[in-house]
Structures are given as structure tokens and as C-alpha cells.
């Protein structure tokens, strides 16, 4: 019903607004300061000088869920922690995204075995995950690639992310 009342021109404008918003959201993903286990260290490393997430505008780690856009589940989710993660997720304002970083966060990883009593095997059982970054732990490059993948997801395609200006891969010795 409401759909019909919007004039076609207005709808185009709304779409443009939405697109601009998405562009901005994609280029300003503020993650929450939140680590669970090993992968959190690689998350910190990704934010540190060598890899510098801040280049993409994603280096503003906010300690409060109210101000963050992105939850990086970095590490094993124990059953004791799971309800808290859900609460934190609910405290984040929409639109929000979730990256499952590391094998433990994706599927329980090596800790899923017969008789396991303590962990939740997979973030997707409790949260809607947008991007999965496998590895044990993934390298910071892997996490950055996850960020770029999430940006593509938000702008609905890499080409539409007009603010991104780089080409991939020039090998540099260390």
C-alpha cells in the first residue's frame, strides 16, 4: 500500500540515498573491542602498525557496543559466553554486521569433538554471520580480506564501492 503512494521519482531518490548510506557504511566499519581467544591477538595485529585497519576507516575500535557497527567474533565461543555475545549483539544498533574469524568461530574448529561439553560449535548458531574468515588463526591479511569482502557485501558488489581505489596484489619482500 505504502509502496504505491511513493512516486517513481521519489523511489529513485530513496534508492540513491540508500546507496550513499551503504557506501558510507561500508567504508566506515567500526569494530567492537572484543576478543575471545587466539584470533583476538591476530585481530589486534591487524589493527596494529604492520597491517593498519585504519586505512579502510575500520581502525576505530569502539569499546561500547552502542557505537560499533561490526562484531568480530574472534575465538572459541564457550557455552558460558554465548548468552553474553547475544546480548552484546542485541545492544548494537542496526545496521550491524558480524564476522566469524577463525575456525573456532566458524564451526568450533579443532575443539569440536565427541564429548565436548563447553563450546558452541559455530557462531552461526547464535548470530547471523555475514563473512567467514577461516584459518587457525587467520593471518591479518585474511582478516583484511574479510573486511573487504564485507564491504563488497554492504555495497552489493565491489564495483559499486566507488570510494575504493586500489588494485590487488603487488608482491613486496619483507
Amino acid at each position: 500500500m505504502a509502496e504505491k503512494e511513493i512516486a517513481p521519482g521519489a523511489r529513485v531518490q530513496l534508492a540513491v540515498v540508500e546507496e550513499v548510506l551503504n557506501l558510507c557504511r561500508a567504508n566506515s566499519l567500526w569494530p567492537m573491542t572484543f576478543g575471545l581467544a587466539c584470533c583476538a591477538i591476530e585481530m589486534m595485529a591487524a589493527g596494529a602498525s604492520r597491517f593498519d585497519l585504519d586505512r579502510f576507516g575500520a581502525g576505530v575500535f569502539r569499546p561500547s557496543p552502542r557505537q560499533s557497527d561490526l562484531m568480530i567474533v574472534a575465538g572459541t565461543i564457550s557455552k558460558k559466553m554465548a548468552p553474553i555475545i547475544v546480548t552484546l549483539w542485541e545492544q548494537m544498533p542496526a545496521p550491524k554486521w558480524c564476522i566469524a574469524m577463525g575456525n573456532c568461530a566458524i564451526s568450533g574448529g579443532p575443539f569440536e569433538y565427541d564429548g565436548q561439553y563447553a563450546i558452541v560449535p559455530g557462531t552461526d548458531l547464535i548470530l547471523p554471520v555475514d563473512v567467514y574468515v577461516p584459518g587457525c588463526p587467520p593471518r591479518p591479511e585474511g582478516l583484511i580480506q574479510g573486511f573487504l569482502a564485507l564491504e563488497d557485501l554492504i555495497t552489493k558488489g565491489e564495483k559499486r564501492n566507488v570510494l575504493r581505489r586500489f588494485k590487488r596484489k603487488i608482491v613486496k619482500g619483507r
Binding site: K79, K80, Y113, D114, G115, Q116, Y117, A118
Partner: protein, 157 residues
């Protein structure tokens, strides 16, 4: 504090026959004490007087009941003492939390993983698992394990 001193203190508490010297080069500990559940407190006191600290408390589940293992060591000369307490199922043991504060958490952990109760423990709550967990995961009848043996099968008595 030498090991001799500790031995002397311990000999007042346990029978000499229950003190078995161990091969440090091979096992990493110097002395093993087989104690009964009611001797634990006295042994801990003796260890504390000998200036030892509590390295860990753990338990192993056997078919003939769980066994608690206390481990004391001194920070001056290596004198690791292993105290074994064989319990029967459902038996409880006295807490040594009043002697070693470190024991409070170790005992909580043993309680929640093996279901062994510690008498006089001020705060025997779940430590690692959620507060509402109702299972004892490290018992051998929980989940998939490869063997469930009796004490004799391993220590060969």
C-alpha cells in the same frame, strides 16, 4: 628448606610406608605420599610449614573411584611432592583452602569436573562451566573416551 626437612615433617603425619620415593629424572617428582582422606589437612599443614607452595590439585577417575592428586613444591630447592588420595565413589575430602588460598579455585575446579565434594569449602560453586551445568565432564563415563581403568592397571600394585 630441604626435602629432608619436609620428609621429617611429613613423617609425623603419615606412616613411613606410605611415603614412596620417586625417580625425579624420570617422573619429575621426588616423593609420593599415599594419604587417606582424613590426613589431607595435616599433610597440607606440614607442607606449608616446610615453606612449600601448592602447585596444583587435580583428580583422575578410575573404576575404583576417583583419586585426588595434590602437588607441592618449594620455591627454593626443587622438592616436588605428590600426594595421592584414593577416594571411593561419593566420598568427600576436607578442603585445604584455609591453609592454601590457591586451593580454593583448584578445589572448585575438581568439584565441577569430577563431582568430588570438599567439606568446609566456603564457596563451592561452579568455576569454569556455566552455573547451571549439571554434569561432571571429566568423569570417564561422560562422552567418548578410550579407556576406563582401575588404579592397579596403571600403577601396577
Amino acid at each position: 628448606m630441604s626435602l629432608e626437612d619436609l620428609k621429617e615433617k611429613l613423617s609425623k603425619v603419615v606412616e613411613p610406608g606410605d611415603m614412596v620415593p620417586r625417580d625425579y629424572e624420570k617422573d619429575g617428582c621426588l616423593l609420593e605420599i599415599k594419604a587417606r582422606a582424613d590426613q589431607v589437612e595435616a599433610v597440607a599443614k606440614a607442607a606449608r610449614e616446610a615453606d612449600c607452595f601448592l602447585e596444583s590439585i587435580t583428580a583422575v577417575d578410575f573404576t575404583n573411584g576417583p583419586q585426588i592428586i595434590y602437588q607441592f613444591n618449594s620455591c627454593t630447592i626443587v622438592s616436588r611432592v605428590l600426594v595421592r588420595v584414593q577416594l571411593s565413589r561419593g566420598e568427600s575430602v576436607v578442603s585445604i583452602g584455609s591453609i592454601y588460598d590457591a586451593a580454593l579455585w583448584y578445589e572448585r575446579e575438581v568439584f565441577e569436573l569430577f563431582g568430588i565434594r570438599f567439606d568446609n569449602h566456603p564457596d563451592l560453586r561452579r568455576l569454569l562451566l556455566p552455573e547451571d551445568a549439571d554434569f561432571y565432564p571429566l568423569l570417564k563415563d561422560y562422552g567418548k573416551v578410550h579407556a576406563f581403568r582401575s588404579t592397579e592397571e596403571i600403577y601396577g600394585e
